[in-house]
């Protein structure tokens, strides 16, 4: 990835941070604001990535597709399908206690991974989909393309940020926060708790699907292996909890900081040129470190770096 030297690497890092920031913002809407426990983030992300890839690629004998639609159609499709799946997951679970949603989202993420791994006609199985086009990729030189893509990602991240920030201070957001604090009270004031939760779950999933689409067009290749489901989902949870659940700035800060640590240590392990066996073990050590960091934050600083700014009156 080190094509344009350090600056080029920085741009790639920022694009990826931006994509993770979008995911973390989506999770902040679901968990930080409403208290919906989604541990199937990798699934919604994968649906977004594959949908956008299939919509935009040219005809290929290896997988479904050949629609060759523009980038923006792909991104919209990614969000739409991801949101639809969230809606389906929400129907049986959102009237129940929170842990049912948790278990069901893990189930849907696993099922999605199995489908993309086994249904070759759809997704070319483990070999994945290659040659996913990016906007103006043919026209711009590599360096400028990445810079251009950074602008696109930043625009989407900004949009997500503003949307959730605006929602947070709207009557809608206030209902969501009431649901998080006391579901009974929300219901007692005449709010249809199920529908509010559903709107929030679906909106969050649309945001996650869009992030998946952005990822697919940036890297140009996706396979089921890209989304080691639990590790990926866990990373985003750590980002939100480190940054501070309920705080949008915290979500973005957490995404950039944790992604920096994550890729930084990966870089370090690569640089050490260990044997494959030790490389796997070093990778494991990385996950252990980040798990311990999460547990310490939960135990010692549950509000994260930036806690939620509580207002008594809006």
């Amino acid at each position: 990835m080190v094509i344009g030297g350090l600056e080029g690497y920085l741009i790639v890092f920022l694009v990826m941070s931006g994509i993770f920031a979008i995911l973390t913002l989506g999770l902040n809407l679901q968990w930080g604001i409403t208290g919906l426990f989604n541990i199937g983030i990798a699934g919604f992300f994968a649906v977004g990535a594959y949908t956008s890839a299939i919509i935009t690629t040219v005809q290929s004998p290896d997988h479904l597709g050949g629609y060759g639609m523009p980038f923006i159609t792909g991104i919209l499709g990614a969000g739409a399908l991801s949101g639809m799946i969230a809606w389906l997951v929400g129907i049986p679970t959102l009237r129940l206690k929170g842990d049912y949603l948790a278990i069901a989202t893990i189930g849907i993420a696993e099922t999605i991974r199995l489908i993309f791994t086994n249904e070759s006609w759809l997704s070319n199985g483990t070999r994945g989909i290659t040659g996913i086009p990016g906007p103006l990729r043919e026209v711009l030189p590599h360096y400028y393309y990445n810079l251009f893509y950074l602008l696109i990602t930043a625009a989407f991240a900004g949009l997500a940020f503003l949307f959730i920030e605006r929602a947070l201070h709207s009557p809608w957001g206030r209902v969501l926060r009431t649901i998080r604090e006391d579901e009974m009270m929300a219901a007692a004031t005449g709010k249809d708790v199920f529908h509010f939760k559903m709107q929030c779950l679906v909106t969050g999933a649309v945001i996650m699907g869009v992030a998946g689409g952005l990822y697919a067009h940036f890297i140009g290749f996706i396979s089921p292996e890209v989304f080691k489901p639990m590790q990926f989902t866990f990373l985003i949870w750590v980002m939100l909890i480190v940054g501070g659940a309920g705080n949008n700035k915290g979500a973005v800060l957490g995404a950039v900081a944790v992604w920096g640590l994550w890729t930084g240590t990966e870089f370090l392990i690569d640089a050490l040129e260990l044997s494959t066996d030790y490389q796997t073990k070093a990778g494991a050590l990385r996950i252990i470190t980040i798990s311990i960091a999460l547990e310490l934050i939960l135990l010692l600083r549950p509000e994260g770096l930036l806690g939620e700014t509580k207002k008594t009156f809006d």
Binding site: I91, T93, K97, Y100, I288, S291, E295, L299
Partner: protein
């Protein structure tokens, strides 16, 4: 079809042991412990090391169970107990962290490659109806059945067993009745994790040992627990067999790769039709 039913009972026996432990901790501690599958993995690998010391099978089994029980109690003391008053969802998040921690510790200690307890090739017995079953598989069913009988005797006949059932039914009421809930919690972890270790060892015998093995079976475990009603050990036993059978019988119709998705489908059906589980009494609505 007969063969698939037998396979379902073998898989089901393993799920039953895992799910019984999971439902006990779920019911009494009131949170979904996502580290349960990885505690299974830990038990299975502990047994691998013990088996390498040429200890007899029974001894390996018991020590691995005791070791995993101790690990579970330790996990509770340093992590879950300080978080308990912060609610079930915070515990759930921390259990996911604990799951990843355990899995990667296993990977560092025992390596990422697949491992086997024994390299011997077993000759399957031929049974009536053309059913083939390996000696190990008979052992799996036998051990699972024996442990379930033991759990049954413990829950019904001992004071601690009764205290555990009372706490699962209604924690406040149990406390008022003078039950020492801290001791109940410790016993619950001990028994839940010992059963997890047993399930892990049996899974290792039936398939192979991988650091991911326990995590991969977690979804069927939760499906069995919810099917049987959370906190109901007898429900989890029935649920485990049903999930085992439906996973194996599904292979007659769809690709074997989708086995975990089958348990997810069963789970969703249960949530739609009867969320408190087939044996659950009162509904656990929010």
């Amino acid at each position: 079809m007969e063969q698939l039913i037998v396979n379902g009972i073998i898989t089901g026996s393993i799920i039953v042991l895992g799910a019984t432990g999971l439902t006990l901790t779920y019911g009494i501690l009131r949170f979904a412990n996502f580290a349960h599958g990885d505690l299974m993995t830990l038990g299975a690998y502990a047994a691998l090391t013990l088996a390498g010391m040429n200890l007899p099978f029974g001894v390996v089994f018991v020590i691995a169970m005791a070791f995993t029980a101790a690990a579970g109690i330790l996990l509770d003391t340093v992590l879950y107990r300080p978080l308990r008053k912060r609610g079930s969802i915070v515990l759930l998040i921390s259990s996911i962290g604990a799951a990843l921690l355990l899995r990667n510790l296993v990977l560092i200690i025992w390596g990422p490659r697949m491992r086997y307890y024994s390299q011997d090739i077993q000759i399957a017995y031929m049974m009536p109806f053309g059913i083939r079953i390996k000696p190990d598989e008979l052992l799996i069913i036998g051990i699972a059945a024996a442990l379930i009988v033991l759990v049954h005797i413990f829950l019904k006949k001992t004071r601690m067993g009764k205290a555990m059932r009372a706490t699962a039914d209604n924690a406040e009421l149990a406390q008022i009745a003078g039950i020492d809930t801290d001791r109940v919690v410790m016993w619950t972890w001990g028994i839940g994790c010992a059963l997890a270790a047993a399930a892990g060892i049996l899974l290792g015998m039936e398939v192979q040992l991988r650091p991911q093995m326990g995590w991969d079976i977690l979804l069927p475990l939760f499906a069995a627990v919810i099917l049987g009603g959370i906190g109901r050990p007898y429900g989890a036993m029935a649920g485990g067999i049903i999930i085992g059978l439906s996973q194996e019988i599904s292979t007659a119709f769809i690709s074997t790769a989708y086995k975990p998705a089958v348990s997810f489908a069963v789970l969703i059906l249960v949530l739609l039709i009867r969320p408190s589980g087939i044996f659950g009494g009162e509904g656990r609505w929010s």
